[in-house]
Structures are given as C-alpha cells and as structure tokens.
Amino acid sequence: MQSKRKIRILIAKPGLDSHDRGAKIVARALRDAGMEVIYTGLRQTPEQIVETALQEDVDVIGLSILSGAHKALFPRIMELVKQKGLTDVMVFAGGIIPEEDIPEMKKLGIKEIFGPGTPTETIVQFVFEHIPKRT
C-alpha cells in the first residue's frame, strides 16, 4: 500500500516576492505528472513553510524565489527543516539565484537549484529520481 502513495510535494514562496508564474507552472507540471501538490501561496515566512510541510507530511519541498532574498531566507528554512526533524524531506529551489550563490545554497542541504529557462520536464524528472525512500 505504501508504495501506492502519491508523491506529496509542497511548492512554497518564501518572503515578499510576488512573482508566482514559475511556481504555479511547476506546481501544475508536477500535478500533471501524478504528484500531490500543495501550493502555499505568496509571502510565507520560513516558519509557515516548514509548518505546512510538517502538517501536510510532504516528501519534497520546492522553494521559488526571484527577489534575491534567498541568502537571508534559505538558511533559516533549512535550519527549521532540520530542527523539526524533516531530514528525509528533499528540498529543491528555483528562481533567480546567481550562479555564484549555488554552492552555498547546496551546502545548506538544498539538493538542486533550477534557473530561468529550465524545462518543467527536467524538474519532474529530477523529483522522480531523487524522491526520498520512505521507511
């Protein structure tokens, strides 16, 4: 039965950034690929995002940010992910994140960062390939 469970994924918009075109497109593409997608809506604090992830019992969190506030917000989100024991949840991100920031973001535990122009198929494929195994 457990293996029949759909992949549950939270698409989240941290901070004040209001660009939600990409987040919504990715959410829809993941849903079309058969996943259970929860979209937070805009302007979520790190606390709200991690709380929703916990409540919704998700396997994956996708963060979308285009405002440049990732350097302030991602460390806090990842800190809370660890604090709340969501260590088996896979986190990826997308948006406008300069190349030179990517190593630092990955060091926080963010599995992958998708920049502008990424085909949705690449993201869907990535999630399928990196979905954490539930025990």
């Binding site: 209001s18 593409a29 805009l42 604090t45 122009g117």
Partner: protein, 559 residues
Amino acid sequence: MFDEEKINEIRKERERWENITLPKWMGQRLERKSEFRNHSDMLIKRIYTPEDIKDLDYMRDLGFPGEYPFTRGVHATMYRGRLWTMRQFSGYGTAQQTNQRFKYLLKEGETGLSIAFDYPTIMGYDSDHPMARGEVGICGVAVASLKDMEILLDGIPLDKVTTSMTINGPAAMLLAMYVAVGDKQSVPREKLGGTTQNDMLKEFFAQNLCIFPPKPSLKLVTDIIEYCTRHLPRWNPISISGYHIREAGANALQELAFTLYDGITYVESAMERGLNVDAFAPRLSFFFASHNNLFEEIAKFRAARRLWAKIMKERFHAKNPRSMWMRMHVQTSGCTLTAHQPLNNIIRVTIQALAAVLGGTQSLHTNSFDEALCLPTEEAVRVALRTQQIIAHESGAADTIDPLAGSYYIEYLTNEMEEQAMNYIQKIDNMGGAIAAIEKGFFQKEIADSAYKYQRETDEKKRIIVGVNDYKTEETHPIPILRVDPKVEKEQVAKLQKLRRERDNRKVNEVLEKLHYATEKDENLMPTIIEAVKSYATLGEICGVLRKVYGEYKELIVI
C-alpha cells in the same frame, strides 16, 4: 476603402494564385509549420490582401493623429514634434544609491525618472518589520519615511523632471511624500508632474502585491484620482497596467482586454465619486508590455488606442477629446529575456522597443540584458537606454507618424485585437464587473492557463527560444552581476530607528489618530496622509492604521 468590384477581382486572382502558382512551390517545399499562430492564438494567414480589410473605413477606423479615434496616435505631430520619454525603471539599495543612479541616467540622456521600490515599501512595511528581513533595498529602493524620499530626490528639480512611481497599495503614501518634497523645494503643486501606478485591480490577479481587500483598495485608488483632479493637475493619478498581467502569463489579447476593463472600472468608480468624466479622464494613463512578436504588439497598441477612445465616447459619454486619449508607457518584456546567452537579450529588447515606437507609445522603458540574472548594472542599463536612442535617431522609425498604417496585415490584426478584446469586455460585464471576476478567479485562471500553455509549447519546442531550447551553446559567457550589499539593510534599519527617536512623537501619534478617524469616516485620505508623512510618520505606521480599519487581503490561490 475598396469597392466591391475591386475586391472580387482580388479574390479571383488570389484563388488563381492559390490553385496554380502556390502548389508549384509547395510541391518543392512545404511550409515550416502546418499552421502559424501568434501569442494571442490568432491564426496567421499566409498572406494578407485588401480582402482582409475590405470593410475598413479610413476616416472612421484610422483618421488622423491627434483626432478621434486616435488609432494613428494621440498627438498630431507625434515623434516629429517630440520623441517619447525615455524612462528607465530603477531603484536599489539605499535612497542615496538610487539618487546617484538617477543622476547618472539623467546625465546619459534619460528624460524622466521612474522609481522602483523594494518589497517592504511596496507592501507597506517599514524596513525593520520582521517580513522585511533580507528584502531591504534588494529589488528596489527602501523608502520608509519622508526622510528617505528627501534623500532619494535630492538635487532633482521636481518642476522640471517628471517621475513615475511604481507603487500601488501604498500609492497614496508615496505620492504624499513626493508632494511633501515638492513643497520643500517650493515647487507649486500645479507644477508637479509624474505618475503613480496606483492600479490595484491588476494586483489581485497579476502582480499580487496587495495589502488591503479589493473594495477599500479601489476606494484608495479613487481618493488619489479625486485628489489629483483637484490639486495636482499635471499628475497622472493612475497608470492602468497591462504589463504585469502580461508578465504573469497572459497573452497580448488578454493583456489588452483585462487592462481596458480595469480602466472601465476606475472610470466608473471616479464617476460614482461624483467627478465629471471630462475632469479626470484626460489624466488617466496606461502601461503595456511589448514582446517579441513585432506585428502583434504594434496591432495591440493601435487597437488599444482606438478601443479606449470608443469606450470613453460611447460608454462614458466623454465630450473632451483628451478624455478619449490613451496615453501609454511601454516596457519591454522581462519574461522574454533569458539567463542563457544574455547578450541575445539586447536584440530582443530592440525588437520590442521598435514595436512600442511603431505602436506610438508616449514613454518607454527598455530592459537591460542582465534582466534574467539581477538588477541592471550601469553598463547594462546604458545599453538599454542607447537602444532607444538608436531607434530614435538612426532608424528613421520616428520620422513619420504611424508608418505601418494601411498594411493589410497590421490593419487586419488591429481589427482582430479590438474585436476579440471587446468580446472579453462583454464577458466580464456579464460576470458583474472586474471585482466579481477577481472573486471568481476568472482573470487568474485565464492567465495561469496561458502561462502554462506557453511553457508547454516551449518545453515541446513548438516555440523556439534561441539559446534556451535551441541554438544552445555549452560555453558560458559570464557577465557582471549587480549585488546589493547586505549592509544596506542594517544601515536602513538604524536610520529608521534614529528617525523614530528624534521626531516629535506626540505629533505623529496625533496625526495617526486623525488618520484613523478619517479612515473610519470614509473620507478622502490624501490630505491627512500628506499631513502624516510630513510629521515623519513612517510608511509602516500609516499603512498600519489602514490595515487596522480595512483588514488585509487574503490571496485567492488559482493554479
């Protein structure tokens, strides 16, 4: 324009051409696609002829520039008289940094200012609000009080330079600060020129920067229209914006229709306030996006002018021709620019800017080639400005008015745009208007569907984006990136806290109290807000009073 006999002759000749000449060529080479469509999903024919515009009536549908229905332009001399205003949207970091950028742009030949505010300012939060963490000065300039505005506009003569402010939820507060700086410079209020975006409706379904619910938001928009009509005759109280609708994913047709519908709603609201349509309508301004499909965009701009003129005349019975003018600002499209091979963006911006000029815009912002990566560096913004200057002075596009008029294709597309936009307008009328459509999620769904379709077409390579899904190169060409120093936030917070300590707090509290009262009494809030900013009440404090009375908007999520 063509008599029936002539049209019949052309039809016969076309049929002959299709039956005899064309098959010979098609036999050798099939067309690149089985069908061609533009972004608005209109089927594009192989060729356009007088048949496609056989009902076009020159005087009724085109006329002369500066005259109804303004298809050919709102001014009689257009760019032969004065070029469009070159207005680059800019702002980052502290007020001081942005002030320097403004002065740089003016020195390089820019002819108007356009302020980009940071997210906390746009959302009506002070720079030290918990939600502001990591966002201060990042996407625009931080303006938390009149103090910041004074620094931002330092040394800029407000009686000579016009300023556009991209601000919506707190438009009244930022306009109040601008007025206060003008007062300090002893510029008479009737000389202050500029624009507040102040278009809340599109925020609810496109740009998503909403503070208050739709009804009080519309009330504030109308307060500004009323105040400007009475006290700031050179100020455009609103810039009815399609740009964000388009960037959120709408196609050109949806952008046109939804923007015009928002315009209708503001006119109705101002008339309900008791204003005479001819008193305020001449100061309504518009803001559109320009994308890569050159002809589609040009047709959109021309159709927008004609349709608005008709709406003002027929729906609202405006008498003053100026009330029927659609004056527009255009910005090239951010979402068409790519992070891959960023120099290619210069070419995209050129095409888009040319469309805006051939479409008869009054003002233009050209995006910088590093748009998909960061806020523009000085070099990138200079190239963007030079693009406008090259079009203005070297291309010849500005030498005659509406040069594409009479093109079978352009006139056909202009007609299509107008007719199909009108269908949307009727549909929204039947839904009960813009607010009802927002509450039903109609606009949101339309936009989300178009955005998704565009992405699918790109993913499936039905749509080629050079350097992204075709013509890719392995080698990367790194370009310099502008970064805002994280110190900006600390400095800004310290400055704000110092202000709160040093100002006359008794006076601030009094005026905030008065504002609270005026808000509850549903008065026009502009005069009290001006008083509040002059007492150095902060943006967050002023918005806080309104948040208490109006409540906050809760996003309606439509995927």
